[in-house]
Amino acid sequence: MKPYSIYIDKWSQGLAKLLQKYDIYAPIKHENYLDYELLTPGSVSAVVYNQPKPSTPLKAFFFPVKENVVRETSKRTKVVIGAPSCDLQALKLLDRIFLEGEYLDTYYQKAREETIVIGTDCLDIQEHCHCTTYGIEPYPTENCDISLAIWDQKVMLQPLTAKGEQFINELDAHDLFHGEIDFTDLLQKRESVRQRLKIHNQNLPDNEKTREGVIKAEDAIWKKYAATCVSCGACAAICPTCHCFLLIDRQGFEKIKNWDTCQYPAFEKVAAGEDPLKKLYNRLANRYFCKFVYKPDMFGEIACTGCGRCIEACIGKINKNEIITEICQHL
């Protein structure tokens, strides 16, 4: 599909018009964070593009914190602008879990089908970004309908799906350019971001080495790092790949699908009392086994996409990458 480009003010005007038809979410910056907000005609021009990364992981649009999965819901089509590559890659694993196999999660499926995802290049890096360590490019390559980047006051739009192309045409702007675009500038920027990430994370082991380190790690290491863990579950809530949930019962045989995590006590406890994850350090270790051993074995997909959010979110100051560096240091 050929790319499109449009001046940023026209793009904003187009988006503002489309608010009548769609719920459009895009990153807005506040003092300490950048996060998706439902746009209003007044906030369209405040959208921040090409910056890592919204606090909320993309999964929340398809797998909400709390969702009634018995009642029928009819929602307006959503457009999510500004998904970073780490979050788009995470959808690979989530799609395999919720859409594949014998049982189809129709709520997740519906949300995936009815959401237009616009991914963006990260043209800057943050302290804990480390996607390239796991072989992920810092720009959208798949799992989105449009890839967006801004330079020279212009919005470059590369449609990746028919749904994406249709959305671009709905912008209905006269000066929407469609045809060959010279991407040399963007490619150079991408390369420089990639290099910065590589240098920034040069001592961080890749996923294969991490896997080995996790398997060989002594309990003492998990115990040491678990000392400041308070089992709050923030690391899992904010993680773009963590998929665990609990079905909560409501009158009328209704069920609420609610985010849950192996980091909470009693996550695996059975009625008779046994609990394989009774000890806090076992729960911490389980998180690393899940991400670097079990999920790759079960689904052939990595379950950490290097977004760094769990490091930023941890009130116990547990740094995933410090743990990984330590468990791999003698390999």
């Binding site: 018995v70 129709t106 899940c290």
Partner: protein, 273 residues
Amino acid sequence: MSEKNIYKPIKFHLDKVVEETPAIKTFFLSAEQDFNFKTGQFVEVTIDGVGEAPYTPSSSPYVKDRMELTVMKAGYVTDKMHQLKGGEILGIRGPFGKGYPVEKFYNREIIILGGGVGLAPLRCLIYSLLEEEDKFRKINICFGAKTPADFCYKNWFPELLRRERVHLLRSVDKADSNWNETVGVVTVLLDKLRVDWANLIAIVCGPPIMMKFGTLRLLELGCREENIYLSMEKNMSCGLGKCGHCAMGNYFVCKDGPVFTYDQIKNHPDIWI
């Protein structure tokens, strides 16, 4: 939504409740439509507005319009189950999991080792095996309970004893004055069998401690790792491989089990807890 909603229970009527032991009751359910399941598969049972828990039916999969569930009082949902009197509506999702590969047991001698409420899924299995009794060489059933009063399905045993290929042995940890069978842990029953250990199929279900010592004894006697079938009890929520609660290493027990051969899971550190 045209596709089936995997989270929505279908309604079953609770016809009656029978007390098996002071801690165990059997719930007799009937459905409006036929319900198909394979032996060893489980269902998720919802008490409206209260909670949901997984149980393997204890009745025959050949009976389609009714289903029996045998439940031990062990936690919040099972306590509420035990308060039901009959006449209520329950929600059922499923069947889930893989169950026992009965075809693989054809022409073999079988040992079924069970204890406590573990007899529930085993009763379902035995019903299935007896539907085609002549396909199996012999069905050795070794059941244990704490005391004679702690056996479920007391009326079922005479029926089993009449079966030609069934060899039933029972033990209790503590006998009463009427008990004239074995006294001791259930694994002692294995020592009474004259069987070709290397070629038989062993199926174990019961409390974790019994599963552990049962499996270890079977291995000592020469049973092959791939011929020992264990049904694993895990915390479960969705029952269908999405929610992560039942994770055990590289498996979701709900979807990849709940029945596993010992060699599939022996390397996982916490299989007995």
